[in-house]
C-alpha cells in the first residue's frame, strides 16, 4: 500500500523540532530512522499531517563519553552501535545485541532513540537499556529531564515521554572490570522478532552475583525486568540449587503472553532455558563477549 499524503519538514536544530512538535501536537510525527514509522504509514496504520525528520539535527548524533556514562545520541543507528569501539569497550551488552536487530539494511537506518521511544516489547534496545539501568534524556522547549529506564516504559508501546518531548540521548553507565553481561535471543529466523530474549548484567564479586538485572524481550506487553528473580540471585554463587530457586521464582513472576506462533507455556519454558544460559555466562570468569552473538 501507499502512504497517505502528509507534509514534511527537516529542521537543523532541536529547538526547531520541538517548536514544530509543540505547534502541531498529535498531527505531527517525529521521523528518526523511520524503520517502523514508514511501514506503518505504508500500511495506513498512522496518518499524520506532518513528519518532522530529525536527520539533520547534529545534537542528536554521535556516541561519546560523558563522566561515568556512555552517551548515545538519539539518532545513532544500530549499525553505528554494532561497529563502535566505544560501545565494545564500555557497553559490550549493546554490541552483543546489535546483530540480532532485523537485517543490515534496516540497521543502517534504524536508530537507538527511535527504538526506545517506540518501546516495542519485542525489541532489543529497550531491554538492554533496562538491563544497564540506563537513563533516557528527554527535551522539550522548557528544558531537559532525565528519566530512569526502569520508569520509562509504562505499557504496550507507551512510555513516560510527553507529547511535546523528544528523546535527545540515552546514557548507560560505563562497564567496569567486575561487570558481566549476557544477551540471548531466540527467533525463528535470524532477524525476526524474538520469541523470547533476555538482556542481562551483573557484578561478579569474588564469585558472587551482585546487582543482577534481567530484562526480557517478547514475553509481556512491555519491556520488563524480573526483579523477584533478581533478588533470589543477589549475593549468591551460581549452583544447581540456586538455579532451581531462580527458575521457580521466574515461573511465578513472569507471566509470558502467547504470540501468533508460540503458546504462553512454550515461552515460559524457553524463558527458563534462557535464564540458565545467561546465568552461566554471567558467572563465567572471563568478560563475557558472547561470540555466538557476533555476526
Amino acid at each position: 500500500m501507499k502512504a497517505p499524503a502528509f507534509s514534511y519538514a527537516r529542521p537543523k536544530h532541536l529547538t526547531d523540532v520541538l517548536a514544530l512538535l509543540e505547534k502541531h501536537g498529535d498531527e505531527a510525527r517525529l521521523l528518526a530512522g523511520g524503520q517502523t514509522l514508514l511501514a506503518t504509514l505504508n500500511m495506513r496504520l498512522s496518518e499524520p499531517a506532518l513528519l518532522i525528520d530529525m536527520q539533520s539535527v547534529q545534537e542528536l548524533k554521535g556516541l561519546s563519553l560523558a563522566g561515568n556514562s556512555l552517551r548515545i545520541g538519539a539518532m545513532v543507528t544500530h549499525s553505528e552501535i554494532e561497529a563502535s569501539e566505544l560501545v565494545a569497550q564500555h557497553a559490550p551488552l549493546l554490541r552483543m545485541a546489535a546483530p540480532h536487530i532485523a537485517h543490515r539494511a534496516i540497521r543502517n537506518l534504524g536508530t537507538f532513540g527511535g527504538s526506545i521511544a517506540y518501546g516495542d516489547p519485542a525489541a532489543e534496545w529497550p531491554a538492554c537499556l533496562l538491563a544497564l539501568d540506563g537513563i533516557v534524556v528527554a527535551r522539550n522547549l522548557q528544558g531537559e529531564r532525565r528519566i530512569a529506564a526502569r520508569d520509562f516504559f509504562t505499557g504496550l508501546y507507551t512510555t513516560e515521554l510527553a507529547a511535546n518531548e523528544v528523546i535527545s540521548a540515552c546514557e548507560v553507565p560505563l562497564a567496569t572490570p567486575t561487570h558481566r553481561f549476557a544477551f540471548e535471543e531466540l527467533a525463528r529466523r535470524h532477524g525476526d522478532y524474538a520469541v523470547v530474549g533476555l538482556a542481562a548484567s551483573a557484578q561478579m564479586n569474588e564469585g558472587e552475583l551482585d546487582q543482577v538485572r534481567l530484562a526480557w524481550i517478547g514475553v509481556g506487553n512491555m519491556p520488563l525486568r524480573s526483579t523477584a528473580t533478581e533478588q533470589v540471585l543477589q549475593g549468591q554463587q551460581l549452583s544447581d540449587a540456586l538455579l532451581a530457586r531462580a527458575l521457580e521464582a521466574l515461573r511465578s513472576e513472569l507471566q509470558a503472553e502467547a504470540d501468533l506462533t508460540h503458546s504462553a507455556a512454550a515461552k515460559q519454558h524457553l524463558a527458563g532455558v534462557m535464564l540458565k544460559r545467561v546465568l552461566n555466562t554471567l558467572s563465567s570468569p572471563a568478560p563475557a563477549l558472547n561470540s555466538a552473538s557476533t555476526v
Binding site: M1, K2, A3, P4, A5, F6, S7, Y8, A9, R10, P11, K12, D16, L20, K23, H24, E27, L31, G34, Q35, L38, A39, L41, N42, M43, A49, L50, L51, D53, Q55, S56, S79, P99, A102, H103, R104, A105, I106, N108, L109, R189, H190, G191, V295
Partner: protein, 181 residues
C-alpha cells in the same frame, strides 16, 4: 535543499524540489513527501531494477544504497534523500562494481524468476565490503532480510561464497573496501 526551514504554517502535501545524486548524477526533481524512494526511482525516473515487493520492509526486493549503505527503498521517503547519494542496481551494474557477483550468480544459476536478484546483489555487495571473511552461516544471516520466493537460497549463498573465496584466494580480502569502492 529547499525545505530546511519549513514555513511555520505549512502543512502542504504537494510536490517539492529535491536534489539527489542518483548513480553519480546530481539533479533536481519534484516529489511529494508521501512518495517513498523506490516509487520515485521506478515511476519518476524509470529505474525499474529496484523491485517493490511487500512495501513494508520485510522482503528486501527494494534494496538500494543511500550514502553508500544498503537501505530498504520502501522505508525511506524520496524527500529524505534530498542532498544525499543514491545508488541503484543500474548504477552498480554499469560501473562494474558488482561484476564478480553477477558472474557468480549466473555461474551458480542463482536466479530463477529474478525478482529478488537486484536486492540480493545489493545486500551481497555490502557483505563483501564489511565482512570479507564471512563464512557460509554468516552469509545466510546477512541475506536473511532478502526473500527469494522461488526459494533458491542454496544457489544464492553458493554464489556469494564463491566470490568471497575467490577474493580471499586472490588476497583481495584485506583490501575489499578499496576494491569495491
Amino acid at each position: 535543499m529547499t525545505h530546511q526551514e519549513p514555513s511555520p504554517d505549512d502543512l502542504a502535501t504537494d510536490a517539492r524540489a529535491v536534489s539527489i545524486t542518483i548513480n553519480g548524477t546530481c539533479s533536481q526533481h519534484h516529489v511529494q513527501p508521501r512518495t517513498h524512494l523506490v516509487d520515485f526511482l521506478r515511476e519518476g525516473l524509470g529505474l525499474k531494477g529496484s523491485h517493490l515487493g511487500c512495501e513494508h520492509g520485510v522482503c528486501g526486493a527494494c534494496t538500494v544504497q543511500l550514502d553508500g549503505q544498503v537501505v530498504r527503498g520502501c522505508l525511506v521517503l524520496a524527500v529524505q534523500a534530498d542532498g544525499r547519494v543514491v545508488n541503484t542496481i543500474e548504477g552498480l551494474s554499469d560501473s562494474g562494481a558488482i561484476r564478480e557477483l553477477q558472474q557468480a550468480f549466473v555461474r551458480h544459476n542463482a536466479l530463477q524468476c529474478g525478482f529478488c536478484t537486484s536486492g540480493m546483489l545489493m545486500a551481497a555487495h555490502e557483505l563483501l565490503e564489511k565482512k570479507p571473511d564471512a563464512n557460509r552461516e554468516q552469509v545466510r544471516e546477512w541475506i536473511s532480510g532478502n526473500y527469494c520466493r522461488c526459494t533458491g537460497y542454496q544457489a544464492i549463498v553458493d554464489a556469494i561464497c564463491d566470490v568471497l573465496a575467490q577474493r580471499s584466494k586472490a588476497g583481495h580480502a584485506a583490501h575489499a573496501e578499496g576494491a569495491v569502492a
